[in-house]
Amino acid sequence: MTNWTDICALTDIPRLGSRVVKTDTMNIAVFRTADDAVFAMKDECPHKKGPLSQGIVHGHAVTCPLHNWKFDLASGEAMGPDEGCTNTFPAKVDGSRVLIDFSGLIEQAA
């Protein structure tokens, strides 16, 4: 069962950029790529908790601003030599709006 929440307009996120959604339990980074796909993941690098939302977005990946680890936006997995994974959340564009499914977050909190 998915449970989509409307977050913002697609244009609220710059292309190849991101925004941060604050929730009670954690910050969630929402990324928009050059091809207007959107992705959501926990805004915390598994390395030393760097805010991934502040990294440079390229292709379907983001580079952590603190020590340059690279993460696949779809899976949340570190790419290349580094190892680690951050939680991802389903995200999609519906018309001009960005929707995220936070049900995973609620389960986690529970």
Binding site: T5, D6, I7, C8, D12, I13, P14, R15, L16, G17, R19, V20, V21, K22, T23, N27, V30, A34, D35, K48, K49, G50, P51, Q54, G55, I56, V57, H58, G59, T63, P65, L66, N68, K70, F102
Partner: protein, 811 residues
């Protein structure tokens, strides 16, 4: 039908001749080679390192069997030519093989001279010439203890060193009282002897051998004074004799060697000769550099260009014993009327001597510090008049302004293009740099393959590596230049910089299209670089792309490890007022800044500010008159100043005021990397101007301008660019230097490595010697500043890029 070319002797000079020939006329001849040794051509020079176990036989093969096959050369290994039949134009080998020739090359090298004392034919008495000799020495070292080397010259000492390293007890017997008397004068020879003794070698000086003792194998040695020493192995290294027996038997005119003219032809015009077997203008040579010159000339005539002449060579020598630096060249024993310059530091084991005649270098001997050997050798060969720099000549070529961070890359960059780097192969700096740049070479092996530099004795390897490093930038480090920018492209920073200018590429997409990027939108490495290059080249047209900047520059503060940011307002020249300090104190209270600190750049840092507070804080600071300090940017950072003539009893100029003017001129400018300035009021240099990217030191008559300093990871003291008289000139030079750096350097390359890579000469040529170019650069800089000096903090306080600083709320 092709002409038939036959070569006797498969050694260094001969095969080099073939290489030169194949370069210009690959198909002219059907080539056949005879070599007495059972190996393809190898680097005979490197037998010493093989003996010392620093290298293996495989390492020293120069042309493997495949090379001969690829070039269609028929190679007869292990066959000795025993006769030349000049009438039927054929050569005959010991196994009966016959080969006919239209042209013949004799490259038979030389034989070690064996002193005919009683016992010289005993097993265990050998020369030091080929792989077989080295094998014999290595075998003996496993079985026996005592080795005696007769001959304290270059070869003898290298043999002795190698045998010592194999664990033998080694005595060097030398007829004279100085070692290497043909290459060294007495003081240098004494230093050499001392260091070899330290390595455990024993010496019998002024000693002459009466006989070699033993029945089945050598057991000892008797001197003419009757003393005897034990010996299980005797290596004779007392000299070489050109190998002329074959030529002589064929009726070719020989004296000490096979006599040739300036085209390397013997008295039989179908027969050429090169290498150690040759006598030219009454000289025989025993080092590869002259032989390779001969090879070039012979090849030039064999391929019928017919223009080259060999006119003899001056040689220089180095000893290949690890840990011993020794260099000599020319006539180093002075004659009447010569002048001698000597620099000596016995405690450092350093000795340098130059012999001058009519203010020209005639000879050089160096021990301990041989860095400038190639420079002296160049002065010697070119007969340069040295009166202008006689006073400092012994300190080397690079005595100027180098505060003890002697690094060879800097020195090698200062050499002129025609300075010889590789003495063996006669390769000059210009050729090497050219090959590196044009052929995109990265490794020592590439350079060896393309230029031959460092491929023979290897003693110039350090210089070649330094040239590589300074030409391709930090070739091995993080900011390479000829390497691809990143994994998205095969093109280098230089390619991209040139392409952007030449093809008027003005958007990131057009650059990626033009250079066929392999990713749709680049990566975290190339995007910031491209964004910078476009901004620097098209200040009026290009729209800065925030998403291609690192977070610090996107958020205009340094990100901290907890995700908060720091705020450093600009304080021009480090000056501030009570009101300034009050305003900073107020924002600190208002936004509960956890920590404040005075930075190393003469201003105040507010740490730990939450991202969403940044625009609010900036608004307050902006209202109080502050602009961003760009402490986060690849940009103009600080202009450090001292008290100067306003207050200081030593101040010669208003260094503080000038610093403020400089900061007003330059703030806001984006750079390849961060950029720091300083102005000191007198040479006491309290503002540390000589470790800044651009430093001004005030003096009574005006201003010294220094460039390319760095106080960071690797300290580099600036180079003096020039002296000027007025503040206006200081501003012009500063702007011009910055603009040159902005347009020429690679992204993330600071001025220190940039100046080292490009050379101070380049900087001087652009902004010192060419006043027109300097003014143009200065104008271009000021033009680009009209777009850059818009305070990013105020813009964001007024609402720009608001999304960057606000979070989303779930509806």
């Amino acid at each position: 039908m092709k002409h038939r070319l036959v070569m006797v002797g498969n050694g260094m000079a001969g095969v080099r001749t073939l290489e030169e020939l194949l370069k210009s006329a690959p198909d002219q001849y059907e080539i056949t080679v005879f070599g007495a040794e059972p190996y393809p051509n190898y680097n005979r020079i490197m037998l010493s390192p093989v003996l010392a176990s620093d290298k293996t036989v495989e390492d020293i093969i120069l042309n493997d069997d495949a090379w001969y096959a690829d070039h269609g050369i028929t190679l007869h290994k292990g066959k000795t030519i025993t006769a030349i039949d000049r009438v039927h134009r054929q050569v005959i080998a010991d196994d009966g093989t016959v080969a006919e020739y239209d042209r013949l090359i004799l490259a038979t090298g030389s034989n070690p001279f064996i002193i005919p004392v009683p016992g010289h034919q005993l097993p265990g008495v050998i020369g030091f010439r080929d792989i077989a000799d080295v094998d014999a020495m290595l075998a003996a070292s496993k079985q026996y203890k005592h080795a005696v080397v007769i001959g304290g010259g270059l070869l003898g000492l290298e043999a002795a060193n190698g045998l010592k390293k194999q664990g033998m007890d080694v005595t060097v017997v030398h007829l004279l009282d100085t070692l290497m008397e043909r290459q060294l004068d007495k003081p240098a020879a004494a230093l050499l002897k001392a260091s070899l003794e330290e390595k455990g070698l024993k010496f019998e000086m002024s000693a002459s051998t009466e006989s070699i003792l033993g029945d089945e194998r050598v057991t000892g040695l008797r001197f003419t004074d009757g003393r005897e020493i034990p010996a299980d192995l005797v290596v004779m290294a007392v000299g070489i004799r050109p190998n002329i027996a074959l030529a002589k038997a064929a009726g070719i005119h020989c004296e000490r060697g096979i006599v040739v003219n300036d085209t390397m032809q013997t008295f039989d015009p179908r027969i050429w000769a090169v290498g150690e077997c040759v006598q030219h203008r009454n000289q025989c040579y025993g080092l590869v550099a002259p032989l390779f010159e001969q090879a070039k000339v012979a090849a030039n005539h064999l391929c019928e260009h017919g223009v080259a002449r060999y006119e003899g060579s001056v040689t220089s020598t180095k000893l290949k014993v690890t840990g011993i630096d020794l260099f000599s060249a020319g006539e180093f024993n002075e004659q009447d009327g010569d002048e001698t310059l000597v620099l000596q530091d016995p405690s450092q084991g350093m000795y340098k001597k130059l012999v001058l005649r009519d203010n020209r270098v005639k000879g050089a001997v160096m021990y301990g510090d041989t860095m400038d050997g190639s420079w002296y050798f160049q002065l010697l060969r070119e007969g340069t008049d040295v009166s202008a720099f006689r006073k400092t000549i012994l300190f080397g070529q690079h005595d100027l302004g180098d505060a003890g961070h002697g690094d060879s890359s800097k020195q090698v960059m200062a050499l002129s293009d025609d300075a010889e780097i590789c003495g063996c192969n006669g390769v000059c700096k210009g050729e090497i740099v050219d090959a590196i740049v044009k052929k995109g070479l990265f490794t020592l092996d590439d350079v060896r393959a393309h230029t031959k530099a460092s491929s023979s004795c290897g003693s110039c390897t350090g210089l070649v590596e330094a040239l590589l490093a300074s030409t391709v930038g930090e070739g091995y480090g993080p900011a390479p230049s000829k390497k691809p920018m990143c994994k998205c492209t095969d093109h280098s920073h230089d390619d991209v910089i040139t392409g952007i200018k030449r093809h008027q590429l003005k958007t990131m997409q057009s650059v990626r299209d033009f250079f066929e990027w392999q990713t749709p939108d680049g990566c975290a490495t190339c995007r910031p670089a491209l964004n910078y290059y476009l901004l620097a080249n098209w200040p009026a047209e290009y729209n800065d792309d925030a998403q291609s900047r690192f977070i610090n520059e996107r958020a205009h503060g340094n990100i901290q490890k907890d995700g908060t940011y720091s705020v450093v307002p600009r304080m021009f020249g480090g000056l501030c007022t009570a009101n300034d300090l009050r305003a900073i104190a107020d924002v600190s209270d208002k936004y509960q800044v956890p920590e404040m600190k005075v930075t190393g750049g003469q201003r105040i840092d507010l740490f730990g500010v939450k991202k969403e507070d940044l625009p609010l804080m900036w608004k307050d600071l902006s209202d109080a008159g502050f602009v961003s300090g760009h402490a986060y940017g690849k940009a103009l950072r600080t202009v450090k100043t001292c008290a100067g003539s306003n207050w200081c009893r030593f101040g010669t100029q208003n260094s503080t005021g000038l610093g403020v003017k400089l900061e007003q001129l330059t703030w806001g400018s984006w750079m390849p990397h961060k950029f720091k300035l300083a102005v000191s009021g007198c040479p006491r240099n309290c503002a540390e101007a000589t470790i800044k990217d651009f430093g001004v030191v005030c003096v009574d008559s005006g201003y010294e301008l220094h460039v390319g300093g760095n106080g960071g990871i690797k300290v580099r003291v600036t180079d003096l660019l020039t002296r000027v008289a007025t503040e206006e000139e200081v501003l012009e030079f500063t702007g011009a230097f910055i603009q040159l750096y902005r347009l020429d350097a690679h992204y993330l390359e600071r001025t220190a490595p940039w100046v080292e890579r490009r050379g101070l000469a380049f900087v001087k040529e652009q902004i010192l010697d060419n006043a027109e170019r300097r003014r143009q650069l200065y104008e271009d800089f000021k033009f680009s500043q009209t777009f850059a000096q818009i305070d990013p903090w105020k813009a964001r306080a007024d609402g720009a890029e608001a999304h960057e600083f606000t979070t989303l709320k779930i509806a």
